[in-house]
Amino acid sequence: MLRIGLVMLQGARHSHIAALERASTETGIDIEIHELRKSSDLDSSEPHAIVMPGGESTTMRLTGNDPVSSLLPAVFDWIRADTERPVLGTCAGAILLAEPGDGGDSLVDAKIERNGFGTQADSFQSNIQAVALGREFPGVFIRAPRFTSSGGKAQVTAKLGNEVVGVMTNNRMALSFHPELSGDTGFHEWLLRTAEKHEADSE
Protein backbone atom coordinates (compact mmCIF):
# COMPACT_ATOMS: atom_id res chain seq x y z
CA MET A 1 0.00 0.00 0.00
CA LEU A 2 1.47 3.33 -1.10
CA ARG A 3 0.55 6.51 0.72
CA ILE A 4 0.10 9.48 -1.60
CA GLY A 5 0.11 12.93 -0.05
CA LEU A 6 -2.10 15.49 -1.78
CA VAL A 7 -1.36 19.15 -1.08
CA MET A 8 -4.82 20.53 -0.27
CA LEU A 9 -3.98 24.23 -0.24
CA GLN A 10 -6.34 25.22 -3.06
CA GLY A 11 -7.26 24.31 -6.63
CA ALA A 12 -8.26 21.20 -8.59
CA ARG A 13 -7.63 18.77 -5.77
CA HIS A 14 -10.64 16.54 -6.31
CA SER A 15 -9.76 15.93 -9.95
CA HIS A 16 -6.34 14.67 -8.78
CA ILE A 17 -8.00 12.31 -6.30
CA ALA A 18 -10.13 10.84 -9.12
CA ALA A 19 -7.10 10.57 -11.44
CA LEU A 20 -5.00 8.88 -8.73
CA GLU A 21 -7.75 6.36 -8.05
CA ARG A 22 -8.03 5.51 -11.75
CA ALA A 23 -4.24 5.25 -12.01
CA SER A 24 -4.28 2.85 -9.06
CA THR A 25 -6.76 0.62 -10.88
CA GLU A 26 -4.75 0.81 -14.12
CA THR A 27 -1.45 -0.11 -12.49
CA GLY A 28 -2.77 -2.49 -9.84
CA ILE A 29 -0.83 -0.48 -7.23
CA ASP A 30 -2.87 -0.04 -4.05
CA ILE A 31 -2.87 3.50 -2.74
CA GLU A 32 -4.17 5.49 0.18
CA ILE A 33 -4.61 9.23 -0.46
CA HIS A 34 -3.73 11.53 2.43
CA GLU A 35 -5.00 15.10 2.32
CA LEU A 36 -2.34 17.52 3.51
CA ARG A 37 -3.56 20.81 5.01
CA LYS A 38 -1.04 21.40 7.80
CA SER A 39 2.55 20.37 8.37
CA SER A 40 1.32 17.92 11.04
CA ASP A 41 -0.64 16.06 8.32
CA LEU A 42 2.66 15.42 6.55
CA ASP A 43 4.28 14.09 9.73
CA SER A 44 1.41 11.76 10.51
CA SER A 45 0.89 10.38 7.00
CA GLU A 46 4.54 9.72 5.97
CA PRO A 47 3.71 9.68 2.25
CA HIS A 48 5.67 7.80 -0.44
CA ALA A 49 4.89 10.47 -3.05
CA ILE A 50 3.33 13.92 -3.18
CA VAL A 51 1.00 15.64 -5.65
CA MET A 52 0.95 19.45 -5.83
CA PRO A 53 -2.21 20.49 -7.72
CA GLY A 54 -2.92 23.59 -9.75
CA GLY A 55 -4.90 26.60 -8.64
CA GLU A 56 -3.56 30.05 -7.88
CA SER A 57 0.08 29.97 -6.74
CA THR A 58 -0.33 33.31 -4.90
CA THR A 59 -3.18 31.86 -2.81
CA MET A 60 -1.23 28.66 -2.16
CA ARG A 61 1.81 30.56 -0.96
CA LEU A 62 -0.35 32.50 1.50
CA THR A 63 -2.30 29.57 2.93
CA GLY A 64 0.73 27.27 2.75
CA ASN A 65 3.15 29.60 4.53
CA ASP A 66 0.73 30.84 7.18
CA PRO A 67 1.93 29.85 10.66
CA VAL A 68 -1.33 27.96 11.17
CA SER A 69 -0.59 25.64 8.26
CA SER A 70 3.19 25.76 7.64
CA LEU A 71 2.49 23.10 5.04
CA LEU A 72 4.67 24.47 2.25
CA PRO A 73 7.93 24.69 4.25
CA ALA A 74 7.27 21.14 5.47
CA VAL A 75 6.60 19.86 1.95
CA PHE A 76 9.75 21.54 0.60
CA ASP A 77 11.79 20.01 3.46
CA TRP A 78 10.29 16.60 2.69
CA ILE A 79 11.24 16.94 -0.99
CA ARG A 80 14.78 18.10 -0.24
CA ALA A 81 15.40 15.37 2.35
CA ASP A 82 15.69 12.71 -0.38
CA THR A 83 16.34 13.78 -3.98
CA GLU A 84 14.63 10.68 -5.40
CA ARG A 85 11.28 11.24 -3.71
CA PRO A 86 8.54 11.26 -6.39
CA VAL A 87 6.60 14.51 -6.78
CA LEU A 88 4.06 15.57 -9.41
CA GLY A 89 3.40 19.31 -9.65
CA THR A 90 0.83 20.58 -12.14
CA CYS A 91 0.34 24.20 -13.22
CA ALA A 92 0.61 26.23 -9.98
CA GLY A 93 2.21 23.13 -8.44
CA ALA A 94 4.89 23.36 -11.14
CA ILE A 95 5.42 27.03 -10.28
CA LEU A 96 6.01 26.12 -6.63
CA LEU A 97 8.56 23.46 -7.66
CA ALA A 98 10.44 25.86 -9.96
CA GLU A 99 10.17 28.78 -7.52
CA PRO A 100 9.68 27.53 -3.96
CA GLY A 101 10.21 31.13 -2.82
CA ASP A 102 11.72 30.06 0.51
CA GLY A 103 15.28 31.15 -0.24
CA GLY A 104 16.32 27.58 -1.08
CA ASP A 105 17.24 26.04 -4.44
CA SER A 106 14.64 25.34 -7.12
CA LEU A 107 13.23 21.84 -6.85
CA VAL A 108 13.27 21.44 -10.62
CA ASP A 109 16.03 22.99 -12.71
CA ALA A 110 13.88 25.39 -14.74
CA LYS A 111 12.57 28.92 -14.79
CA ILE A 112 8.88 29.56 -15.18
CA GLU A 113 6.65 32.55 -15.91
CA ARG A 114 3.11 32.78 -14.48
CA ASN A 115 0.21 33.09 -16.96
CA GLY A 116 2.75 32.85 -19.77
CA PHE A 117 0.12 32.15 -22.42
CA GLY A 118 -2.33 34.93 -21.50
CA THR A 119 -5.79 35.13 -19.97
CA GLN A 120 -8.57 32.55 -19.87
CA ALA A 121 -9.57 33.34 -23.48
CA ASP A 122 -6.11 32.02 -24.47
CA SER A 123 -6.49 28.79 -22.48
CA PHE A 124 -6.33 25.85 -24.89
CA GLN A 125 -6.40 22.15 -25.52
CA SER A 126 -3.90 20.49 -27.81
CA ASN A 127 -2.18 17.15 -28.17
CA ILE A 128 1.34 17.26 -26.82
CA GLN A 129 4.31 14.92 -26.94
CA ALA A 130 4.67 13.25 -23.54
CA VAL A 131 8.38 12.43 -23.79
CA ALA A 132 8.31 10.77 -20.36
CA LEU A 133 5.57 8.38 -21.49
CA GLY A 134 6.85 7.95 -25.05
CA ARG A 135 3.52 8.90 -26.63
CA GLU A 136 1.04 11.66 -27.38
CA PHE A 137 -0.97 13.09 -24.52
CA PRO A 138 -4.08 15.33 -24.37
CA GLY A 139 -2.77 18.66 -23.08
CA VAL A 140 -5.15 20.94 -21.15
CA PHE A 141 -3.66 24.40 -20.57
CA ILE A 142 -5.60 26.79 -18.32
CA ARG A 143 -4.03 30.23 -17.80
CA ALA A 144 -0.94 28.10 -17.92
CA PRO A 145 2.54 29.09 -16.78
CA ARG A 146 5.34 28.93 -19.32
CA PHE A 147 8.83 27.50 -18.90
CA THR A 148 11.25 30.21 -19.98
CA SER A 149 14.42 28.13 -19.62
CA SER A 150 15.60 24.83 -18.24
CA GLY A 151 19.01 23.89 -16.92
CA GLY A 152 21.33 20.90 -17.25
CA LYS A 153 19.71 19.03 -14.39
CA ALA A 154 16.28 19.15 -16.03
CA GLN A 155 15.04 16.45 -18.33
CA VAL A 156 12.33 17.50 -20.79
CA THR A 157 9.29 15.32 -20.15
CA ALA A 158 6.62 16.97 -22.31
CA LYS A 159 6.67 19.15 -25.42
CA LEU A 160 4.17 21.14 -27.43
CA GLY A 161 5.89 21.48 -30.78
CA ASN A 162 9.26 22.96 -29.81
CA GLU A 163 7.95 24.40 -26.58
CA VAL A 164 8.84 22.70 -23.30
CA VAL A 165 5.72 22.07 -21.20
CA GLY A 166 7.09 19.51 -18.75
CA VAL A 167 10.44 19.06 -16.99
CA MET A 168 11.83 16.65 -14.43
CA THR A 169 14.76 16.90 -12.03
CA ASN A 170 15.45 13.61 -10.23
CA ASN A 171 11.91 12.33 -9.64
CA ARG A 172 10.28 15.73 -9.39
CA MET A 173 7.99 16.27 -12.36
CA ALA A 174 6.69 19.78 -13.12
CA LEU A 175 3.99 20.10 -15.80
CA SER A 176 2.55 23.39 -16.99
CA PHE A 177 -0.70 21.65 -18.04
CA HIS A 178 -3.44 19.69 -16.25
CA PRO A 179 -3.19 15.91 -16.68
CA GLU A 180 -5.85 15.53 -13.95
CA LEU A 181 -8.47 17.14 -16.23
CA SER A 182 -7.47 15.27 -19.39
CA GLY A 183 -9.02 11.87 -18.73
CA ASP A 184 -5.58 10.31 -19.36
CA THR A 185 -3.89 8.97 -16.23
CA GLY A 186 -0.44 8.42 -17.79
CA PHE A 187 1.40 10.88 -15.54
CA HIS A 188 -0.41 9.71 -12.41
CA GLU A 189 0.55 6.12 -13.31
CA TRP A 190 4.14 7.31 -13.72
CA LEU A 191 3.97 8.74 -10.18
CA LEU A 192 2.67 5.50 -8.67
CA ARG A 193 5.20 3.31 -10.51
CA THR A 194 8.06 5.62 -9.56
CA ALA A 195 6.93 5.66 -5.92
CA GLU A 196 6.69 1.88 -5.90
CA LYS A 197 10.20 1.53 -7.32
CA HIS A 198 11.66 4.14 -4.95
CA GLU A 199 10.05 2.37 -2.02
CA ALA A 200 11.50 -1.01 -3.13
CA ASP A 201 14.97 0.55 -3.66
CA SER A 202 15.05 2.17 -0.23
CA GLU A 203 14.17 -1.02 1.62
Binding site: G11, T58, A121, S123, F124, S150, E163
Partner: protein, 329 residues
Protein backbone atom coordinates in the same frame (compact mmCIF):
# COMPACT_ATOMS: atom_id res chain seq x y z
CA UNK B 1 14.68 28.76 -25.46
CA UNK B 2 11.05 28.25 -26.37
CA UNK B 3 9.73 28.90 -29.85
CA UNK B 4 6.48 30.79 -29.87
CA UNK B 5 3.44 28.52 -30.06
CA UNK B 6 0.75 29.36 -32.58
CA UNK B 7 -2.26 29.60 -30.29
CA UNK B 8 -4.50 29.92 -33.34
CA UNK B 9 -4.16 26.20 -33.99
CA UNK B 10 -5.28 25.20 -30.53
CA UNK B 11 -8.81 24.54 -29.36
CA UNK B 12 -10.13 27.39 -27.21
CA UNK B 13 -13.34 27.90 -25.24
CA UNK B 14 -14.22 24.22 -24.84
CA UNK B 15 -16.51 23.02 -22.06
CA UNK B 16 -13.50 21.31 -20.44
CA UNK B 17 -11.50 24.56 -20.38
CA UNK B 18 -14.43 26.53 -19.00
CA UNK B 19 -15.27 24.06 -16.25
CA UNK B 20 -11.54 23.50 -15.70
CA UNK B 21 -11.00 27.21 -15.04
CA UNK B 22 -13.69 27.02 -12.34
CA UNK B 23 -11.95 23.98 -10.80
CA UNK B 24 -8.82 26.08 -10.34
CA UNK B 25 -10.93 28.32 -8.06
CA UNK B 26 -11.87 25.45 -5.71
CA UNK B 27 -11.22 26.13 -2.06
CA UNK B 28 -10.69 29.81 -2.75
CA UNK B 29 -12.17 33.20 -1.96
CA UNK B 30 -13.23 35.55 -4.79
CA UNK B 31 -13.22 39.15 -3.59
CA UNK B 32 -15.17 42.17 -4.89
CA UNK B 33 -12.88 45.13 -5.60
CA UNK B 34 -13.71 48.61 -6.89
CA UNK B 35 -10.19 50.02 -7.46
CA UNK B 36 -6.81 48.77 -8.65
CA UNK B 37 -5.52 49.40 -5.13
CA UNK B 38 -8.15 47.11 -3.61
CA UNK B 39 -7.25 44.47 -6.21
CA UNK B 40 -3.69 44.62 -4.89
CA UNK B 41 -4.85 44.16 -1.30
CA UNK B 42 -7.06 41.24 -2.36
CA UNK B 43 -4.24 39.49 -4.23
CA UNK B 44 -1.79 39.97 -1.36
CA UNK B 45 -4.37 38.61 1.07
CA UNK B 46 -4.76 35.35 -0.85
CA UNK B 47 -7.82 35.97 -3.06
CA UNK B 48 -8.13 33.35 -5.78
CA UNK B 49 -9.73 35.89 -8.15
CA UNK B 50 -11.08 39.41 -7.97
CA UNK B 51 -14.48 40.62 -9.14
CA UNK B 52 -14.03 44.05 -10.71
CA UNK B 53 -16.95 46.40 -10.17
CA UNK B 54 -17.73 50.08 -9.71
CA UNK B 55 -19.60 49.78 -6.44
CA UNK B 56 -19.83 46.93 -3.95
CA UNK B 57 -23.36 45.55 -3.47
CA UNK B 58 -23.88 47.44 -0.18
CA UNK B 59 -23.38 50.74 -2.07
CA UNK B 60 -25.51 49.61 -5.01
CA UNK B 61 -28.32 48.96 -2.53
CA UNK B 62 -27.84 52.32 -0.86
CA UNK B 63 -27.80 54.35 -4.07
CA UNK B 64 -30.63 52.54 -5.87
CA UNK B 65 -31.26 53.12 -9.58
CA UNK B 66 -30.19 50.89 -12.45
CA UNK B 67 -26.94 49.03 -11.81
CA UNK B 68 -25.01 48.20 -14.99
CA UNK B 69 -21.74 46.63 -16.11
CA UNK B 70 -18.69 48.50 -14.77
CA UNK B 71 -16.82 51.04 -16.86
CA UNK B 72 -14.28 49.34 -19.17
CA UNK B 73 -11.52 51.69 -17.99
CA UNK B 74 -11.91 50.51 -14.40
CA UNK B 75 -11.89 46.86 -15.44
CA UNK B 76 -8.76 47.42 -17.54
CA UNK B 77 -6.98 49.15 -14.66
CA UNK B 78 -7.74 46.24 -12.38
CA UNK B 79 -6.63 43.73 -15.02
CA UNK B 80 -3.35 45.57 -15.42
CA UNK B 81 -2.71 45.62 -11.67
CA UNK B 82 -3.32 42.03 -10.73
CA UNK B 83 -1.86 38.68 -11.79
CA UNK B 84 -4.77 36.59 -10.48
CA UNK B 85 -7.92 36.05 -12.60
CA UNK B 86 -10.30 38.97 -13.02
CA UNK B 87 -14.06 38.45 -13.17
CA UNK B 88 -16.66 41.08 -14.02
CA UNK B 89 -20.44 41.27 -13.86
CA UNK B 90 -22.91 41.56 -16.72
CA UNK B 91 -26.64 42.13 -16.29
CA UNK B 92 -28.91 39.07 -16.53
CA UNK B 93 -29.78 38.57 -20.20
CA UNK B 94 -27.46 41.33 -21.43
CA UNK B 95 -25.47 39.49 -24.11
CA UNK B 96 -23.89 42.74 -25.33
CA UNK B 97 -22.43 43.68 -21.95
CA UNK B 98 -21.02 40.17 -21.84
CA UNK B 99 -19.50 40.64 -25.32
CA UNK B 100 -17.82 43.83 -24.13
CA UNK B 101 -16.40 42.07 -21.07
CA UNK B 102 -15.13 39.21 -23.22
CA UNK B 103 -13.41 41.62 -25.59
CA UNK B 104 -11.74 43.38 -22.63
CA UNK B 105 -10.16 40.03 -21.76
CA UNK B 106 -11.72 39.26 -18.37
CA UNK B 107 -11.28 35.64 -17.30
CA UNK B 108 -14.86 34.93 -16.25
CA UNK B 109 -18.23 36.71 -16.45
CA UNK B 110 -20.69 36.74 -13.57
CA UNK B 111 -24.24 36.99 -14.95
CA UNK B 112 -25.38 38.71 -11.83
CA UNK B 113 -28.59 39.64 -10.05
CA UNK B 114 -26.59 42.29 -8.18
CA UNK B 115 -26.99 44.33 -11.37
CA UNK B 116 -30.43 45.25 -12.69
CA UNK B 117 -31.68 42.49 -15.05
CA UNK B 118 -31.83 43.45 -18.73
CA UNK B 119 -34.06 40.68 -20.05
CA UNK B 120 -37.23 39.62 -18.23
CA UNK B 121 -37.49 36.30 -20.10
CA UNK B 122 -34.08 34.85 -20.93
CA UNK B 123 -30.54 34.72 -19.57
CA UNK B 124 -27.38 35.11 -21.68
CA UNK B 125 -26.59 32.38 -24.23
CA UNK B 126 -23.41 31.44 -22.43
CA UNK B 127 -22.42 28.53 -24.65
CA UNK B 128 -21.73 31.03 -27.47
CA UNK B 129 -18.80 32.58 -25.59
CA UNK B 130 -15.13 31.57 -25.40
CA UNK B 131 -14.77 32.59 -21.76
CA UNK B 132 -16.65 30.90 -18.91
CA UNK B 133 -19.62 32.20 -16.91
CA UNK B 134 -20.65 31.89 -13.29
CA UNK B 135 -24.37 32.25 -12.51
CA UNK B 136 -26.44 32.46 -9.34
CA UNK B 137 -29.06 29.95 -8.24
CA UNK B 138 -31.62 29.71 -5.44
CA UNK B 139 -32.56 26.10 -6.17
CA UNK B 140 -31.70 23.03 -8.25
CA UNK B 141 -33.97 23.97 -11.17
CA UNK B 142 -32.29 27.32 -11.59
CA UNK B 143 -28.84 25.72 -11.43
CA UNK B 144 -29.78 23.10 -14.03
CA UNK B 145 -31.12 25.80 -16.39
CA UNK B 146 -27.95 27.86 -16.08
CA UNK B 147 -25.66 24.84 -16.62
CA UNK B 148 -27.70 23.77 -19.67
CA UNK B 149 -27.25 27.33 -21.00
CA UNK B 150 -23.48 26.91 -20.64
CA UNK B 151 -22.57 28.18 -17.15
CA UNK B 152 -19.25 26.67 -16.03
CA UNK B 153 -19.71 27.54 -12.37
CA UNK B 154 -22.68 28.10 -10.05
CA UNK B 155 -23.00 30.15 -6.90
CA UNK B 156 -25.77 30.69 -4.40
CA UNK B 157 -27.74 33.89 -4.77
CA UNK B 158 -27.56 35.15 -1.21
CA UNK B 159 -28.51 38.75 -0.44
CA UNK B 160 -25.40 40.62 -1.48
CA UNK B 161 -24.62 43.79 0.44
CA UNK B 162 -26.53 42.82 3.59
CA UNK B 163 -23.86 41.06 5.65
CA UNK B 164 -26.66 38.56 6.33
CA UNK B 165 -25.83 34.98 5.41
CA UNK B 166 -29.33 33.51 5.81
CA UNK B 167 -30.27 33.52 2.11
CA UNK B 168 -27.02 31.83 1.09
CA UNK B 169 -27.72 29.10 3.64
CA UNK B 170 -31.31 28.80 2.41
CA UNK B 171 -30.14 28.24 -1.18
CA UNK B 172 -27.45 25.76 -0.17
CA UNK B 173 -29.95 23.73 1.87
CA UNK B 174 -32.57 23.78 -0.90
CA UNK B 175 -29.99 22.72 -3.45
CA UNK B 176 -28.87 19.80 -1.29
CA UNK B 177 -32.41 18.62 -0.53
CA UNK B 178 -33.50 18.90 -4.17
CA UNK B 179 -30.47 16.96 -5.38
CA UNK B 180 -31.36 14.22 -2.92
CA UNK B 181 -35.01 14.20 -3.99
CA UNK B 182 -34.00 13.97 -7.66
CA UNK B 183 -31.62 11.13 -6.90
CA UNK B 184 -34.42 9.14 -5.30
CA UNK B 185 -36.88 9.83 -8.13
CA UNK B 186 -37.95 7.06 -10.54
CA UNK B 187 -37.92 7.75 -14.28
CA UNK B 188 -41.50 9.14 -14.41
CA UNK B 189 -40.77 11.46 -11.51
CA UNK B 190 -37.54 12.56 -13.17
CA UNK B 191 -39.47 13.45 -16.32
CA UNK B 192 -41.85 15.52 -14.15
CA UNK B 193 -38.91 17.32 -12.58
CA UNK B 194 -37.54 18.15 -16.04
CA UNK B 195 -40.98 19.53 -17.06
CA UNK B 196 -41.01 21.77 -13.98
CA UNK B 197 -37.51 23.03 -14.71
CA UNK B 198 -38.59 23.68 -18.33
CA UNK B 199 -41.32 26.06 -17.09
CA UNK B 200 -38.58 28.66 -16.54
CA UNK B 201 -38.44 29.11 -20.33
CA UNK B 202 -42.16 29.96 -20.69
CA UNK B 203 -42.23 33.26 -18.82
CA UNK B 204 -42.93 35.16 -22.01
CA UNK B 205 -46.28 33.38 -22.40
CA UNK B 206 -47.68 34.98 -19.24
CA UNK B 207 -46.99 38.40 -20.74
CA UNK B 208 -48.61 37.90 -24.10
CA UNK B 209 -52.01 39.47 -24.66
CA UNK B 210 -52.81 37.20 -27.59
CA UNK B 211 -51.51 33.97 -26.07
CA UNK B 212 -48.10 33.66 -27.76
CA UNK B 213 -46.58 30.21 -27.26
CA UNK B 214 -42.86 29.74 -26.76
CA UNK B 215 -41.53 27.26 -29.28
CA UNK B 216 -38.17 28.86 -29.98
CA UNK B 217 -35.85 30.53 -27.48
CA UNK B 218 -32.33 31.99 -27.73
CA UNK B 219 -31.16 28.57 -26.52
CA UNK B 220 -32.93 26.58 -29.24
CA UNK B 221 -36.39 25.07 -29.47
CA UNK B 222 -38.22 23.74 -26.44
CA UNK B 223 -37.51 20.13 -27.43
CA UNK B 224 -33.76 20.59 -27.47
CA UNK B 225 -33.85 22.52 -24.19
CA UNK B 226 -35.85 19.69 -22.59
CA UNK B 227 -33.21 17.19 -23.64
CA UNK B 228 -30.34 19.46 -22.45
CA UNK B 229 -32.03 19.89 -19.05
CA UNK B 230 -32.59 16.12 -18.78
CA UNK B 231 -28.94 15.39 -19.48
CA UNK B 232 -27.74 17.94 -16.92
CA UNK B 233 -30.16 16.44 -14.37
CA UNK B 234 -28.81 12.95 -15.16
CA UNK B 235 -25.30 14.24 -14.54
CA UNK B 236 -26.39 15.74 -11.19
CA UNK B 237 -27.95 12.45 -10.14
CA UNK B 238 -24.93 10.43 -11.20
CA UNK B 239 -22.53 12.66 -9.26
CA UNK B 240 -24.79 13.43 -6.30
CA UNK B 241 -23.88 17.10 -6.70
CA UNK B 242 -23.84 19.79 -9.38
CA UNK B 243 -21.47 18.86 -12.22
CA UNK B 244 -19.72 22.24 -11.99
CA UNK B 245 -17.84 23.98 -9.20
CA UNK B 246 -20.36 25.47 -6.75
CA UNK B 247 -19.53 28.49 -4.62
CA UNK B 248 -21.50 30.41 -2.06
CA UNK B 249 -22.16 34.11 -2.51
CA UNK B 250 -24.18 36.84 -0.88
CA UNK B 251 -24.09 38.06 2.70
CA UNK B 252 -20.81 36.40 3.76
CA UNK B 253 -19.20 38.93 6.12
CA UNK B 254 -17.07 37.05 8.65
CA UNK B 255 -14.56 34.17 8.74
CA UNK B 256 -17.13 31.94 10.41
CA UNK B 257 -19.73 32.80 7.72
CA UNK B 258 -17.25 31.50 5.15
CA UNK B 259 -16.57 28.37 7.21
CA UNK B 260 -20.32 27.83 7.58
CA UNK B 261 -20.85 27.85 3.81
CA UNK B 262 -17.89 25.50 3.27
CA UNK B 263 -19.42 23.10 5.81
CA UNK B 264 -22.57 23.15 3.65
CA UNK B 265 -20.51 21.49 0.94
CA UNK B 266 -19.71 24.62 -1.07
CA UNK B 267 -16.45 24.57 -3.06
CA UNK B 268 -15.48 28.14 -2.15
CA UNK B 269 -16.93 31.58 -1.43
CA UNK B 270 -17.46 35.00 -3.00
CA UNK B 271 -17.11 37.87 -0.59
CA UNK B 272 -18.37 41.26 -1.68
CA UNK B 273 -19.02 44.11 0.69
CA UNK B 274 -17.79 41.99 3.64
CA UNK B 275 -14.13 42.80 3.02
CA UNK B 276 -13.83 46.37 1.86
CA UNK B 277 -16.70 47.55 4.08
CA UNK B 278 -14.95 46.16 7.16
CA UNK B 279 -12.69 48.25 9.42
CA UNK B 280 -9.46 46.50 8.30
CA UNK B 281 -9.90 45.06 4.79
CA UNK B 282 -6.48 43.38 4.43
CA UNK B 283 -6.80 41.54 7.75
CA UNK B 284 -10.42 40.61 7.09
CA UNK B 285 -9.52 39.29 3.64
CA UNK B 286 -6.70 37.15 4.97
CA UNK B 287 -8.83 35.88 7.86
CA UNK B 288 -11.62 34.82 5.49
CA UNK B 289 -9.10 33.02 3.23
CA UNK B 290 -7.73 31.13 6.25
CA UNK B 291 -11.18 30.23 7.59
CA UNK B 292 -12.26 29.01 4.14
CA UNK B 293 -9.17 26.84 3.87
CA UNK B 294 -9.35 25.43 7.42
CA UNK B 295 -13.16 25.38 7.77
CA UNK B 296 -13.04 21.94 9.39
CA UNK B 297 -10.79 23.17 12.18
CA UNK B 298 -12.73 25.38 14.66
CA UNK B 299 -9.52 26.45 16.37
CA UNK B 300 -8.21 28.02 13.17
CA UNK B 301 -11.59 29.62 12.43
CA UNK B 302 -11.45 31.07 15.95
CA UNK B 303 -7.96 32.46 15.32
CA UNK B 304 -9.15 33.91 12.02
CA UNK B 305 -12.14 35.49 13.78
CA UNK B 306 -9.79 37.10 16.28
CA UNK B 307 -7.81 38.68 13.45
CA UNK B 308 -10.71 40.81 12.27
CA UNK B 309 -12.04 44.04 13.70
CA UNK B 310 -15.57 45.20 13.31
CA UNK B 311 -17.57 43.43 10.58
CA UNK B 312 -19.68 45.39 8.13
CA UNK B 313 -23.08 46.49 9.47
CA UNK B 314 -25.82 43.95 8.70
CA UNK B 315 -29.37 44.18 7.38
CA UNK B 316 -32.50 42.10 8.10
CA UNK B 317 -33.77 40.42 4.93
CA UNK B 318 -37.39 41.38 5.70
CA UNK B 319 -36.48 45.07 5.77
CA UNK B 320 -34.99 45.07 2.25
CA UNK B 321 -36.60 47.11 -0.48
CA UNK B 322 -34.96 45.05 -3.21
CA UNK B 323 -34.52 41.31 -2.77
CA UNK B 324 -31.83 40.18 -5.18
CA UNK B 325 -32.76 36.51 -5.03
CA UNK B 326 -36.05 37.41 -6.71
CA UNK B 327 -34.10 38.65 -9.73
CA UNK B 328 -33.49 35.96 -12.34
CA UNK B 329 -35.30 32.63 -12.25
Amino acid sequence: MNKRVDLGEMRHGTELLKRGFAKMQEGGVVMDVVTAEEAHVAEDSGAVSVMALERVPADIRASGGVARMSHPQLIKEIMETTSIPVMAKARIGHDEEARVLESLGVDMIDESEVLTPADPFYHIVKSDFTIPFVCGCTSLGEAVRRIAEGAAMIRTKGEAGTGNVVSAVKHARLLEAEIETSSNADSDQRADIVEKILEGYRRLEENSEIGAKVSKTPFGDIESIRSDLASVLDEVIELGRLPVVTFSAGGIATPSDAALMMSHGMDGVFVGSGIFKSSDPARTAEAIVLATHHFEDPQVVAEASEMVGEAMPGLEIDSLEVKLDERGW
